[in-house]
């Protein structure tokens, strides 16, 4: 009964979504405030219904209801509870349910927190959001129904793919989807603005919080996915330029460009056409990613089961939304007028360059991902586009951003003094060069690592030069009231500085991979192996039993200069139901670097094949992403920039005592 309730709720949500497409849109045309006002209750109820359906599916997984095909195929009664709950989205149908849940959540959030948006624009935007819901709910109900029953339920299920039985599954997909699908709000608002013809600077204000929120989640989701790959795959790789990874990087790049161009539109009324184009592009790339992953065009650990009907259906959704939005854009773009003028050397000018570089880098990833598919369809020749291609194209297009970002922060709007800004950076630039020499002296090694690390130090420090300048406008010696100025700095200034510095932190982690040490050898009980500065000893080997797997554990100790610093237990798991083995790497973080050991086969003499690594500063790759997201969150928390608080802020300001 619970299952049928869920199934019915999903169908009802579809009906409400259809109403949401028609009613507010019609209301906006006839200027009927009552019809336009239906948007909010419709969006909220729709979310509640999809949430109910989602809860019903989760219930079936939790109680191992093997009358559901979806549960049989992806669950097992002995599977740990966390994977019963997160396993709901560890398969095609369930992950589409999560997609729909977050899509309707986005719709509800937009309807709820957009009181400052003009009613007609909001009505058109909710109508577009409703159309998205219709498309995806239809997709689930027609091609990927998770509530399908089976006549004679088996006693036991097939269990979840062991690679997915990992805490990463509980975190990575929801974060990624919140990012991917969160951009749907920005898309709907852009489409709504184009339909209702309201594309002034206020539009940039409306999309700002949603763009930022989606960007924060996407950043975290990508970083989490990368760390998951790093500790699961057994050799410490964290980015493969796999098409599925690229699919998540594309909206991130264009979303980052959007954040920057929207700031120009908001403050200077320039780049309107471009900002609206990016708003459409970013979610279009999210849709493309979904198509690539869900259609079966690509095969990977992410694509689960796939069949051609689903592919065609998603392709249809893709064509409808991207084509429709671009058609609207084509109709309206010529009527949009440019705003404030600016000289090439100005904050705006540099943000334009930032957008050019980010878009070109995004295009490199896009072309590299889709070219093999297109070429094979065209002349049948099969090629591979792997990491070397992306390093040679994406690399040079992205690298200038790392150098120019701090400079752009120091430039004034409209017209700026480039030399003056560069002079303010000489100290940190020198610091970066000294760091290069220092790293070379300490580690030696590949030139690219040394240069990368130096640039990283420059970027981390240079990102704060703007704040320094605002706190000490007349130099450090005349620092009267410095604390007052520090406290008075807007959160968004800290946000921008931290986001840029976070990029530097990630860069340092990436550069340091050049100094990694690798040892591939057999590990005997009692033997000691030197990996970089650390001595690793295998103390004992143990067989253990997990809830749905058996495990061989190698207990190891790490010592440096004869002193023990840590213990860890890399292991190898064998899952009975799926007859598959996974390697649980042993990882210990020491001084921001990590000792990484993955064990494989055991030979007759009892020794394990093992890969052992010392990876200096490697944790910075993901810590940098955390810093970036935290910067985004600070910016999002800035009251002054939140929609609809301008009035309240004014009251607060007048209530404050004069200085």
């Amino acid at each position: 009964m619970i299952i049928e309730t869920g199934h019915f709720a999903l169908a009802l949500a579809l009906a409400l979504a259809l109403m949401q497409v028609v009613l507010p849109f019609w209301g906006a045309r006839t200027r009927d405030a009552n019809l336009m006002a239906t948007a909010r209750p419709l969006a909220l109820t729709q979310f509640a219904l999809v949430a109910l359906a989602y809860a019903a599916l989760t219930w079936a997984h939790v109680v191992s209801d093997f009358s559901l095909v979806n549960v049989i195929e992806n669950s097992h009664s002995t599977k740990p509870m966390i994977y019963k709950i997160s396993g709901v989205w560890g398969n095609h149908e369930g992950s589409m349910m999560l997609w729909a849940l977050i899509l309707t959540l986005s719709g509800a959030a937009m309807a709820l927190f957009s009181r400052a948006i003009p009613p007609r624009l909001l009505a058109d935007a909710t109508s577009v959001q409703g159309l998205l819901s219709v498309a995806f709910l239809l997709f689930i109900l027609l091609t990927s129904n998770p509530f399908a029953r089976i006549e004679t339920p088996p006693m036991e299920g097939n269990d979840l793919n062991p690679i997915l039985q990992d805490p990463g599954l509980a975190i990575h997909p929801p974060l990624l989807y919140l990012g991917y699908v969160g951009f749907s709000i920005v898309f709907s608002l852009a489409a709504g603005a184009l339909i209702s013809g309201r594309t002034d600077a206020a539009f940039a204000r409306f999309i700002r919080p949603w763009t930022l929120a989606a960007w924060i989640f996407l950043t975290l989701g990508i970083a989490m996915g990368s760390y998951w790959a790093y500790y699961t795959l057994g050799w410490g790789g964290f980015w493969f330029w796999d098409p599925v990874e690229n699919a998540s990087l594309l909206p991130w790049l264009s979303g980052t460009a959007l954040l920057h161009s929207a700031s120009v539109m908001e403050k200077r009324e320039s780049l309107k056409v471009w900002t609206i184009f990016l708003a459409i592009l970013t979610f279009s790339l999210s849709l493309l990613g979904t198509f690539l992953v869900r259609s079966g065009v690509l095969t990977s650990v992410h694509s689960f089961a796939s069949d051609p009907t689903r592919g065609l259906f998603i392709l249809g959704i893709l064509v409808l939304f991207i084509g429709g939005a671009l058609f609207l854009f084509m109709l309206r773009a010529p009527t949009l007028t440019g705003g404030g003028l600016f000289a090439p050397i100005s904050r705006e000018g540099f943000l334009v360059v930032n957008n050019l570089l980010l878009t070109a880098a995004c295009a490199a990833v896009f072309i590299g991902t889709l070219y093999p598919l297109a070429l094979e369809a065209w002349n049948g020749s099969k090629i591979t586009v792997g990491a070397p291609f992306f390093n040679l194209t994406f690399g040079p297009l992205f690298a200038p951003i790392l150098l120019l970002a701090p400079l752009g922060q120091l430039l004034a709007w409209k017209r700026a003094d480039l030399l003056g800004a560069a002079q303010r950076l000489w100290f940190v630039a020198a610091l970066g060069l000294v760091a290069m020499l220092g790293f070379y002296a300490a580690q030696g090694g590949p030139v690219i690592a040394v240069i990368g690390a130096g640039v990283a130090i420059y970027l981390m420090t240079a990102s704060f030069v703007e704040i320094w300048g605002r706190v000490f406008p007349q130099g450090f010696r005349k620092r009267a009231n410095a604390f007052g100025r520090l406290a008075g700095l807007p959160l968004s200034a800290w946000g921008a500085a931290l986001a840029h510095a976070g990029l530097g932190v990630t860069l340092l982690g990436l550069a340091a991979t050049g100094w990694g040490v690798e040892k591939i050898t057999k590990v005997q009980k009692g033997e000691t192996y030197q990996v970089g500065p650390y001595a690793l000893q295998a103390t004992s080997i143990e067989a253990a039993e997990g809830p749905n797997y058996r495990e061989a554990i190698v207990h190891m100790t790490i010592s440096r200069d004869g002193k023990e610093v840590a213990k860890f237990d890399p292991s190898k798991r064998f899952f009975k139901t799926r007859q598959m083995a996974t390697s649980q790497a042993g990882i210990v973080t020491l001084n921001l670097g990590q000792v990484y050991v993955a064990v494989a086969e055991q030979s007759a003499d009892g020794a394990f094949d093992a890969r052992m690594y010392w990876k200096p500063f490697v944790s910075l790759i993901w810590l940098g992403a955390l810093v970036m997201s935290f910067g985004g969150a600070l910016s999002l928390a800035d009251r002054r920039l939140r929609v609809g608080v301008a009035r309240r802020a004014k009251i607060l300001a007048s209530a404050q005592p004069a200085e």
Binding site: W235, I367, K382, P388, F394
Partner: protein, 163 residues
């Protein structure tokens, strides 16, 4: 305890995939081994998603790793080994697509896009520079007209309101 371990190993040997580069594959000569690693890093495991044969667990990747090392021991050059593999598997085996007539668009388009975008912006910024400059001085004809308008009739021309 020991029995479970043995049973476990027997089972896992049956079912588990071969792992990424293993100790028994490594060549005794460190120079040759370094070359083997360099070549492997550029070769795709044909049955995986964009993984090099060095990183892949697939048994095919292991076969290719062994093949590369055998050829190295036979004294073949890096290029000879790559050519041998491309003859056998096509360009699909190379992670770095070669620059050929049908991949030229792949290699050049990101930079072409950057160049075209850059050129467009450069032209636009030049136009913008021209805009705020002082308006062009009136031509002789226009000065005459203005004089006539100002001197001849005190009322401004009706069109002037619109501009």
């Amino acid at each position: 305890m020991r029995k479970t371990l043995i049973a476990f190993l027997a089972l896992s040997a049956l079912a588990s995939p071969v792992h990424a580069l293993q100790p028994d594959e490594i060549l005794a000569d460190p120079k040759l081994e370094t070359r083997a690693r360099e070549i492997s890093a550029g070769l795709r495991c044909l049955v995986c998603q964009n993984q090099s044969i060095d990183d892949s667990d697939a048994s095919l990747a292991r076969d290719l790793r062994t093949l590369v090392r055998e050829q190295l021991k036979a004294g073949k050059s890096d290029q000879e080994i790559k050519t041998f593999l491309v003859d056998r598997y096509g360009n699909f085996v190379l992670l770095k697509p070669p620059f050929e007539w049908d991949t030229a668009a792949l290699w050049l388009s990101p930079f072409a896009l950057f160049a075209v975008g850059g050129f467009f912006l450069w032209r636009k910024s030049r136009n913008r520079k021209a805009e705020p400059a002082a308006p062009a001085p009136l031509s002789a004809e226009e000065s005459e007209k203005l004089k006539a308008l100002l001197g001849g009739d005190a009322n401004p021309a009706p069109q002037a309101d619109k501009s």
